[in-house]
Amino acid sequence: MRSGRVLPVVVNDRESERRTPAKPLYRIPDAARDPFTPCAPLPPLRAGENDLTRLAPGRPQAGGEAIAITGRILDEDLRPVRRTLVEVWGANAHGRYSHVIDAGRNDAPLDPNFYGFGRLVTDDEGRYHLRTIKPGAYIARRDIGWWRPPHVHFSIVGSGVRLVTQMYFPDEPLNEKDYIFLIVPEADRDRVIGQPAASQHGDRAFRFDIVIRGRFQTPPDLD
C-alpha cells in the first residue's frame, strides 16, 4: 500500500518542529473508507456575531480600520456548503490577541472594544459575510525577527467538510517573509490572500472564497 502525504514542518517554528508527525500519513483502506467527516450540530448564534468590530450591537466600534470580508464556501465538487458554521478570529489593530496566552509576550495594547472572534452561518448559496478590524502585524519570534503579517483565522465545520485556514491581505511585504505563509505551495498562495472587492457601506472589502476537500452532505432538514 502506498503511503500518504508527509506533512511539512514550518521552519523556525518550534511547535511545528516538535509536533508535526514525521512519518507519512497512513492511507485509509477502501474497506474502511466512508464519508463521515463530523456532522457538527449548529450552535445557537447571537445577533451580530458576524460583526467583530463591536462587542455587541450598539456598543462602540473598536479602533483601527473596519473591513468587510465576504465569499463563498464550496466543497470539492464546487457545490455550496450551506448553513455551515464559520468561526473567525484575529488580532486587534495593534497586533494583539485578546487570548490570555498573548498577555505574557506581546507589549501591544488590548482594545476594550475588540475581542477578535466571531461566528456566522453560510446561506443557501454557501455565501458568508463578516465585518472585522484589519489586524495588525505582530512579532512571533523576537530573537530571529519573525513577524506574522496581518491575517484572519477561519474555521469551517459542517456535515462532510472540515477546514482551518488563515486569510492574508494583498500587498503586504511581510507575507513573503512569513514562515507559515511560505509553507503554502507557491501555486496555491493566491488562494489564501483576500482579494480587493467593492467597498461595502464605506468599509474596505475583501473577497475570500474557500474550497474544501470533501463532499458536503445536505442535512435532511435543508432538502
Partner: protein
Amino acid sequence: MPDGSVRRQFTPEATIGPFYPGAFLTDVPQDLWTVAPLVAHHPSGQPIVFVARFLDVLKRPVPSLVVEFWQANAHGRYRHPQDQSAAPLDPQFDGFARVRTSDDGVLRFMTIRPGAHPVNSGGGAIRAPHLRLTIFASGIDRLVTQVFFDDEPLNQSDPLLQSIADARVRDRLIARRRTESGEDDAIEYQLDIVLRGDDETPFFDDWTE
C-alpha cells in the same frame, strides 16, 4: 481528480495557532453524558471516560490542543445524513464534541461507548467500536485518527486497524481499560497520543483522490 488543476483549487489548510478562542469551546458540547444541566434524559449505552494525553517529540505535554470527537451512538448509528443504516438514532446523542487539553496535555472526554457498525461505503466489513478524532494545535495542521478499546474482540477484524501491518504501531490506537472510574459507573480508558517521535501515533490521510 482528473488532473492537477482541480487539486490546486483547494484552499490550503493552516494551524489554529496559539490563540484559538476559548469561546469556541464553551458553545459546543464537551460532555456527551448529559444533554444539559439538570435534565433527566441521557443517551443510551455504557458511559465511558476517554482520557488522552498528548505528547510532542520531547515527550512534553501539549497544552491547549483541541480535539473534535465524532462517533456512532450505542447502536452504531451516526447522526449523519448519509448514514442510512437500520440501527436507530438516539434522540439524546449527536456524537460531536470539542474538548481542549489542560496544561498537563490531558483531556477527559465523557461519552458513551460507540456501537460497532457496518462500513457505510459497502463491502460488508464491520467497524469495531471507535472514536474519530480531528486534532488541532498550535504548530500543526488538522490531523485525523481513530481510537479503539482494548477489551473489544472486533478489533481483530477492523479493516482500518488491521491495515496497519506492525502490531506495535496498531497498539498506539488502542486505549487501555482502567478500573471503574467511580463516576456514574463509567469505564475509563486511557491512551497516550504521541504527535511526533519514535513511538508516533498513526495519523491518517483523509484527502480524497
